[in-house]
Amino acid sequence: MGLESYIAERKQKKDLLVMAHVVCGYPSFEDNLQELEIMAEAGVDLVELQFPFSEPSADGPLFVRANEESLKSGTSVDQCFEFMAKVSARFPFKLLMMGYYNTVFKMGEARFIERLVQAGGVGYILPDLPVEEAGNLYALSEQAAVEPIILMTPTSSHKRLAQLGAASRGMVYVVARKGVTGSKTDMGDDVVALIERCRQHTDVPVGVGFGVSSKRDMDFLRGHADLAIVGTAALKTWEQSGADGLRTFFAELLA
């Protein structure tokens, strides 16, 4: 089942899905498994598995450190795919690969798609790969029925949104504000207007991310977005208060 229909199916049961995020190998793959367990229990719908990269220039401080630490402890791309395979076999939610384009480029785009499919991933998010550069990869993806998740942003012009919308498949990722991951976003009229603007240019489901961290944000997004994307807030919770904390965090978020 493709991503779009998966989302449609899940949305029949609840009005706002949740996509969560894990940096592979940080603090360790065992920790990752625990986190994912909690997410699954809480009913998370989608998870991005971030493949660590040495130059995570679109990430905020917490993820930067997570990327760095993970690489330092020896995390390899092989391990990430293995982990993805294991996770997709074990949990109900769907998986996206998240990372930087160099990881894909170095292994070769065709091989990447092949391995992604083998590991059970349904798509990928590559924040530093603009649509102009993605022609070949998108073509390969289409053949393999995995989805490239396109990002739409507050600075995108109508013209640009049209272009992005035309290429979008599976879902789009609406970046709620300028900046990198990790700081709080003031959810307000701006965000609603942005989502509306994006919807004018695409028919696929809309996820909203960057700074989503509380039940309040969820309530705010409900009715506007199809998915809420939760990244840093979960990792921060895990670091500060471990498994129990994370359990509470998702329980409250999804309450």
Binding site: P52, F53, S54, E55, P56, S57, A58, D59, G60, V64, R65, E68, L71, S76, V77, Y100, Y101, N102, T103, F105, K106, M107, P127, D128, L129, P130, E132, E133, I150, L151, M152, T153, P154, T155, S156, S157, R160, L164, V175, K178, G179, V180
Partner: protein, 419 residues
């Protein structure tokens, strides 16, 4: 040859290198920058203003100096040096920075950010910001902050805020990442003054354009002084801006050989260097906004690099050079830390010049090749900067006992004041 004519190829691409690999959020900013840059580039008045600014503020044109003593001692080619070290703030970096300052004014932005490795680009940017009245933040790897403190001191005193970047290798590439993070947040009022001919399009083209003033001057000067073109032109290559600057003067001269000199660090096979093309350790990748040869592992994560010269210690080569190298238009060589120390010593004593450690890499290669050339052949070296800024590094490198005891004394004095 116009490498910046993209009408046949893809905009921003040099062969298969270059491009724009940035978060979507910067798309509009880059478009705005590109169109402003296109406007400037096609406006002769802009270039005139630019040249006038550099003449009045930075002392351009910088001269070409004949190294009579070294030429005689080596007994081969006649050696000439383009003196970018005589610029205000001590290096060619000021050219690019002043150009981008003018462009930033046109963009109507009031704040600038910049990465810096050796600190020269940060120093130049802080200076430009003081002159143009921009707010200024400089990102610098924590390792570089430690080894280039004098430049940090001046940046701060010029009114810039200097941020020591503690991520990654804590050097130039990490400072660039940090700049990107600032930029994706503040692009509305902020221009990112990239310091070298790397990064996403249009930076390689734009920085090269501003730096082309070096080559335009140098070609005319060397022809005036010697009656002919040089046989070889040498420049050090960090990100490649000073080399692009001088080489552009000679791209249409088929008999002029162009040699880029990279940081050989501890040498071939040491994996402690920053030689992307001269050694065999780099491969093509995409990072920091563009595609080129990077020193990276099989999975695309960047390797640790090393050079005695902080300004050459960069993981990637500029995309234009990646292409020109494959085309056989530019030759690449590397100079090791050891060779740099020796050449610096020789140049100081023989000619009274103190090239920056970066620039000394070009001297190494030139001095190595000069003896086997004919006495009627001509060599031109680009001295991209002066070595004053490197006093701590050079004193360390030369293991200067008096300097060390001076520093010990100073430290004691400061500690005395505290208590």
């Amino acid at each position: 040859m116009d490498i910046f004519d993209f009408s046949d190829g893809r905009e921003g691409y040099y062969g298969e290198y270059g491009g724009v690999f940035l978060p979507e959020i910067l798309h509009a900013t880059i478009e705005e920058l590109l169109s402003c840059f296109r406007e400037c580039k096609s406006d002769p008045k802009f270039w005139q203003d630019y040249v006038a600014l550099l003449q009045g503020y930075s002392g351009r044109p910088t001269p070409v100096t004949y190294l009579e003593n070294l030429s005689r001692e080596l007994g081969g080619a006649q050696i000439y040096v383009k003196r970018e070290d005589l610029n205000h703030t001590g290096s060619h970096k000021i050219n690019n920075v002043m150009g981008q300052g003018l462009l930033c004014q046109r963009l109507g932005k009031k704040r600038v950010i910049a990465e810096t490795g050796a600190g020269q680009h940060g120093f130049a940017t802080a200076t430009m910001a003081a002159k143009f009245g921009f707010e200024c933040k400089i990102y610098m790897g924590a390792v570089d902050v430690a080894r280039q403190r004098p430049n940090v001191f001046w940046m701060e005193n010029l009114g810039a805020e200097v941020i020591a970047v503690e991520d990654g290798q804590q050097t130039l590439k990490d400072a660039i990442n940090e700049c990107m993070r600032d930029w994706v947040t503040n692009m509305a009022d902020t221009h990112y003054i990239l310091g070298t001919a790397c990064g996403p399009h249009p930076f390689p083209e734009m920085v090269s354009w501003f730096q082309s003033i070096i080559g335009i001057e140098a070609r005319e000067q060397i022809v005036n002084q010697t009656g002919r073109l040089p046989d070889r032109v040498y420049a050090c290559v960090g990100g490649g801006s000073n080399a692009m600057g001088i080489f552009q003067g000679f791209f249409d001269d088929n008999n002029v050989e162009l040699i880029g000199c990279e940081a050989g660090g501890h040498g071939v096979g040491s994996y402690m260097h920053a030689a992307r093309l001269a050694y065999d350790d780099a491969s093509v990748g995409v990072a920091q906004g563009f595609k080129t040869y990077f020193l990276q592992n099989d999975e695309g994560n960047m390797n640790k690099t090393h050079s005695v010269a902080a300004g050459l210690d960069y993981i990637g080569i500029n995309p234009i050079f990646a292409h020109l190298w494959e085309q056989g238009k530019v030759r690449f060589e590397a100079a090791t830390d050891m060779e740099v120390k020796e050449a610096l010593r020789l140049t100081m004593r023989t000619e009274g010049l103190i090239p920056a450690l970066e620039s000394t890499h070009a001297f190494v290669t030139a001095l190595k090749e000069a003896p086997s050339m004919g006495k009627d052949e001509i060599i031109l070296i680009n001295q991209s900067g002066r070595g004053d800024k490197d006093i701590f590094t050079i004193a360390d490198a030369l293991d200067d006992a008096k300097w060390k005891s001076f520093i010990g004394g100073k430290a004691d004095q400061y500690r005395g004041e505290e208590s």
